[in-house]
């Protein structure tokens, strides 16, 4: 059982530190991406400027349900991060996070705008693509550690990556989708131009878009947290693994075109399930 102090710490870190960290990472990401494209790029703090500006803009809505959905997305993302820092059940964290995804979709669908709706449908397809892969990665972790709890992973003697290398790849596959990076920036792209405008984000504006951005900061932290678990034995190892993974994501983002969702579903399932199967069988055999 967690001590009260630990609980409070997790709460504070999860609610307040995580989005700041997430924003910084997003800023760094934009900076590195710019450098990769031979540009100077925005300041590291740019995501915060963006959010602050959006918060100060006029409230413009198609219906109030949109505002509610954006808000639920934020709460779900924050809750999942808090649960993560409380070293709770991974599967549960993941399901709580799915609440956000579902409400984002519902919020986008609540507007009869074709771009928003197509974005929502694509977002659902993305959920459909990454969710099984993530569940299977978690199952693999369970097979390896005997528990879904994060605390169980920290109890490990040696890094999980050594035993679950293929599942780590699968995780990377799934997280590229979640991070909205090319080739999977299908339902809504960060800033690139897209045939569906900005997909799920199209009809959100001003403060409500800011809420979604903040929620995305939380998600970035959750995603990188998941990655860090694969080298849970040393703090340096964690940092190195997270940094390398994120760099790889940025690199992939910059050397591939956006694919179609049909390709995404079939390829992610084909590759992801095969890798999972091999890794899981090698664990259980």
């Amino acid at each position: 059982m967690m001590s009260i102090l630990g609980f409070l710490l997790a709460l504070v870190v999860g609610v307040f530190v995580a989005p700041i960290l997430g924003g910084l990472i997003t800023g760094l990401d934009r900076r590195i991406t710019a450098r990769i494209q031979s540009r100077l790029g925005p300041p590291i703090l740019q995501p915060f400027y963006d959010v602050a500006k959006l918060l100060g803009k006029e409230k413009l809505l198609n219906n109030s349900w949109q505002a509610f959905c954006a808000y639920v997305y934020l709460v779900a993302a924050a809750t999942s991060v808090v649960l993560f820092f409380m070293q709770s059940d991974l599967l549960l964290i993941f399901f709580v996070q799915a609440v956000g995804a579902v409400f984002l979709v519902i919020g986008a669908m609540s507007v009869p705008s074709p771009y928003s709706q197509i974005g929502a449908q694509r977002e659902l397809i993305q959920v459909l693509t990454y969710e099984p892969l993530l569940v299977l990665v978690l199952a693999g972790i369970y097979v390896h550690t005997g528990t879904f709890k994060i605390s169980g992973i920290y109890a490990l003697e040696e890094p999980m990556l050594l035993k679950l290398p293929l599942l780590f790849l699968v995780l990377g596959y799934a997280l590229t989708i979640k991070l909205r990076k090319s080739p999977f920036d299908i339902s809504a792209s960060a800033h690139a131009h897209q045939e569906i405008v900005r997909g799920v984000y199209t009809e959100f504006s001003g403060p409500y878009l800011a809420i979604l951005e903040i929620a995305h900061f939380y998600e970035v932290i959750l995603i990188l947290g998941l990655v860090s678990l694969f080298w849970s034995t040393s703090f340096v190892g964690m940092l190195v693994l997270v940094a390398l993974t994120y760099l790889a994501e940025i690199l992939v983002d910059n050397v591939s075109s956006r694919m179609t969702w049909r390709w995404m579903v079939t390829s992610a399932w084909a590759v992801g399930l095969t890798l999972t199967l091999i890794n899981l069988l090698s664990l259980t055999m």
Binding site: P114, I186, W261
Partner: protein, 358 residues
């Protein structure tokens, strides 16, 4: 089956220009696409009534900013033919140099936009970065980056010094090397091929029947290029049209990629063979009669029909731009594609709406 009906344009992030497509999709497969134009229509052909034939050079140059130089050249050639003016050799070569530089910058621009259409941002930036060198050449030699205003009836307005020629040569070397370095990414990358190969197929028979022009036609295996007409100084340059047989977006991309390099080569050839001489001849008299003249724009065959009536103002100035010819093939290509392929295919004809609608 439930259908989604959506307006694609006039304002749309993937469309640099306003065009509207009413798309009907099922599960993101396009079942119907109906275009609507008129968002850029100015009616500038009509300006020939109130501007004299010399002023019209500046106006037709602004039909389209990306191929402005070639519009002006085509117009000037028409007037010169009508009035029986023989342009000095040096002017002809200079016209080729600037028009091919224009083609290079237009194709680089297109390659970037095309990359953007399938979401390859880094490639977009890369091509546009390279393009800036060509823009610098434009700016340094003509006084403006985009609308160069170097043509006039009877010749050209500016000259290139020997020093400038050397500098252009050096700059083009860099451009060529950088473009070549992107060949594998543009034409051989897995993700790019997945998004372009077999997408928006137009057979050569279809292309001919629908009146396609330029790289769209050549991408369907018909090797027809107006530069074969040997206008300006093309009669003294080595030139073979480039064509690819498949008729898909990839082929059209490959045609333009190769043409970029080819144009750089043509600029070099023209610079090497540049004769000394006058830049322009004095034009006397007033245009009278009818003339049809054609040149190759970056987007394809450009046709001017000019009719003079013996006054300073033309009777009729009719401009048939390549995109105008490529819209019917586009409408035929769209059904059956995925929604995500729509920008790719729309871009693959290199639409220039301001050309189309004038």
């Amino acid at each position: 089956m439930a259908q989604t009906i959506l307006p694609f344009g006039p304002q749309h992030p993937v469309l640099p220009e306003p065009i509207h497509l009413k798309l009907t999709v099922e599960d993101e497969i396009v079942v119907d696409a109906l275009p609507a134009l008129g968002y850029v229509h100015r009616g500038l052909e009509k300006l020939c009534d109130i501007r004299d034939y010399n002023q019209m050079v500046q106006i037709v140059e602004r039909v389209c900013g990306i191929c402005s130089k070639i519009h002006a050249m085509c117009y000037c050639q028409g007037i010169e033919e009508m009035m029986g003016v023989e342009v000095p050799d040096r002017a002809k070569f200079l016209r080729v140099i600037w028009s091919e530089l224009h083609r290079v910058h237009s194709h680089l621009l297109w390659l970037g936009l095309f990359a953007d259409a399938f979401g390859f941002e880094a490639l977009f930036y890369q091509f546009w970065k390279i393009r800036e060198k060509v823009m610098d050449i434009n700016e340094a030699t003509t006084g403006n980056r985009v609308i160069v205003s170097v043509n006039q009836v009877g010749g050209v307005r500016r000259d290139l010094s020997a020093e400038q020629l050397r500098w252009i040569d050096a700059e083009l070397k860099v451009v060529e090397a950088q473009v070549r370095a992107l060949r594998a990414t543009t034409l051989d990358d897995y993700t790019v091929k997945k998004r372009t190969k077999g997408i928006g197929v137009l057979s050569s028979a279809q292309a001919m029947e629908l009146g396609a022009a330029g790289p769209t036609l050549r991408g369907s295996g018909v090797a027809q290029d107006m530069r074969q007409l040997k206008y300006a100084a093309f009669d003294r340059l080595d030139f073979q049209p480039i064509s690819y047989p498949d008729g898909d977006s990839w082929s059209r991309c490959a045609v333009r990629y190769d043409e970029t390099l080819q144009s750089i080569d043509l600029v070099r050839q023209a610079m090497a063979r540049l004769p000394e001489g006058e830049l322009s001849v004095k034009v006397k008299g007033k245009p009278e009669g009818e003339v049809v003249t054609r040149v190759e724009q970056p987007r394809g065959e450009l046709l001017y029909y000019l009719k003079g009536n013996g006054t300073n103002n033309l009777d009729r100035c009719r401009i048939r731009t390549p995109t105008f010819a490529n819209i019917p093939p586009l409408v035929v290509m769209l059904p059956g594609l995925e929604l995500a392929d729509v920008p790719v295919v729309v871009l693959s004809i290199d639409p220039c709406i301001s050309c189309t609608e004038r």
